[in-house]
């Protein structure tokens, strides 16, 4: 029974992996670099190298009670880092329920940023909130830990 269950989980995970990898890659349109006006570009310090906290693979979490209903997620880990998360189940009885696109991953459009010469009513910029995060122990990631 245990073997059957393990095979079913592996089949589910593998099926999910196949579904993921059929998505087309993003199209990158590379325009020539833009010269931005002064002041100089803010250059952040180099990123820290990921320490490979998680084992590579796709991990399906258990169904969790999200107060409004159930949620189930799957996390994809590559090179020790979480590269994407997929929502497998989401509450349907909410006024603003979130639906997953059933299509393959849409093509993204990339190009260099350019300043616009236009009048606007409102400006959207960075949030000022002091956002803070902690490592959530969703069951998918608990399985992925080294």
């Amino acid at each position: 029974m245990k073997k059957f269950f393990l095979c079913a989980v592996v089949a589910l995970v593998f099926g999910f992996y196949v579904w993921q990898t059929r998505a087309p890659s993003s199209r990158v349109v590379d325009f020539s670099p833009v010269v931005l006006p002064s002041p100089p570009v803010h250059t952040p310090s180099p990123p820290a190298v990921p320490t490979g906290k998680y084992r590579d693979g796709i991990y399906t979490g258990s169904v969790a009670d999200a107060f409004f209903g159930n949620i189930q997620v799957a996390a994809v880990v590559r090179s020790g880092r979480i590269t994407s998360v997929n929502i497998l189940e989401y509450p349907n009885d909410r006024e603003h329920s979130i639906r997953l696109n059933s299509d393959a991953l849409p093509r993204l459009i990339s190009q260099a940023v350019r300043n616009q010469d236009a009048q606007v009513n409102i400006v959207s910029g960075a949030t000022d909130s002091s956002l803070a995060f902690r490592a959530s122990l969703s069951s998918a990631l608990a399985q992925a830990k080294n």
């Binding site: 993003s26 931005l36 999200a66 990339s110 956002l131």
Partner: protein, 250 residues
């Protein structure tokens, strides 16, 4: 009529195009934000959230508003596999990443109920828009250039959506990857989300930003949401549906 007030540590702007908006009504909208600040500000020792972090209130005694916000935070954490989280580096609860969008949404509903149909509410760069601007056109929202906040890099025309931008350029690196807390997030510098309402746009912009370059894929997967991301190299990436909002570039 447009007014601005400094509440919750940020400028909050409300503009109502409909002609019969009164000063008293504006006062009522700003009073709502003040009440939210009194309850949720981590900078006020007397706020409910500060008293919770000081251990002075047990869960059973949380206000209904606090319970609602904390439940929404929990749901958002699960939905984003932990990339949205409200425990800060000091171990305290700080739901402000969700409260802002939630409060803007509630204030827009307040203005809806009063019968106004052309307005916006903006707080700290997150916006709820309804109807058209004073020129009878969709509201023109400019997205700030993260490398030069005096400039705009994109203009979108929007009528009944929420717009939220998460980024690093105003206060330095304050958004953390919960799975590598001590590492600075440097691969992207701005993430804008447009969605059915500002509460959803805000919480997903927050989470997507914490995911780094993969965040745009997370937004692309959410039905009804579109995203616009800028990385540290000055390359912008849009979900295909974002183009519908973009006003012709000059």
């Amino acid at each position: 009529m447009r007014q601005e007030c400094l509440i919750m540590g940020m400028p909050i702007t409300v503009e109502v195009v409909d002609v019969n908006a009164t000063q008293k009504f504006f006062d009522k909208v700003f009073a709502y934000f003040s009440a939210i600040d009194e309850r949720f500000s981590t900078y006020k020792p007397s706020s409910e959230i500060s008293r919770i972090n000081a251990g002075k209130i047990v869960a059973a005694d949380y206000s209904p508003e606090m319970q609602e916000v904390l439940a929404l935070c929990k749901e958002t954490t699960l939905l984003t596999s932990g990339f949205f989280d409200i425990i800060n580096r000091e171990g305290n609860i700080d739901p402000s990443g969700l409260v802002k969008g939630w409060a803007i949404r509630n204030s827009a509903a307040l203005i809806d109920r009063a019968g106004y149909t052309n307005f916006y509410v903006e707080a700290g760069g997150d916006i709820a828009v309804r109807g058209d601007n004073a020129d009878h056109e969709p509201w023109r929202v400019g997205i700030r250039n993260p490398f030069d906040p005096r400039c705009i890099v994109k203009v979108i025309g929007v009528s009944n959506v929420g717009v939220a931008t998460s980024g690093t350029y105003l206060r330095g690196q304050h958004v953390y990857n919960p799975f590598q807390k001590q590492a600075a997030l440097t691969d992207i510098v701005s993430m804008t989300v447009v969605g059915p309402d500002v509460y959803e746009a805000d919480r997903f912009a927050t989470a997507a930003f914490a995911m780094g370059a993969e965040g745009i894929n997370f937004i692309a997967r959410l039905s009804g949401f579109d995203g616009y991301m800028i990385n540290a190299q000055g390359i912008e990436t849009m979900t295909p549906g974002f183009a519908q909002y973009v006003i012709e570039e000059k």
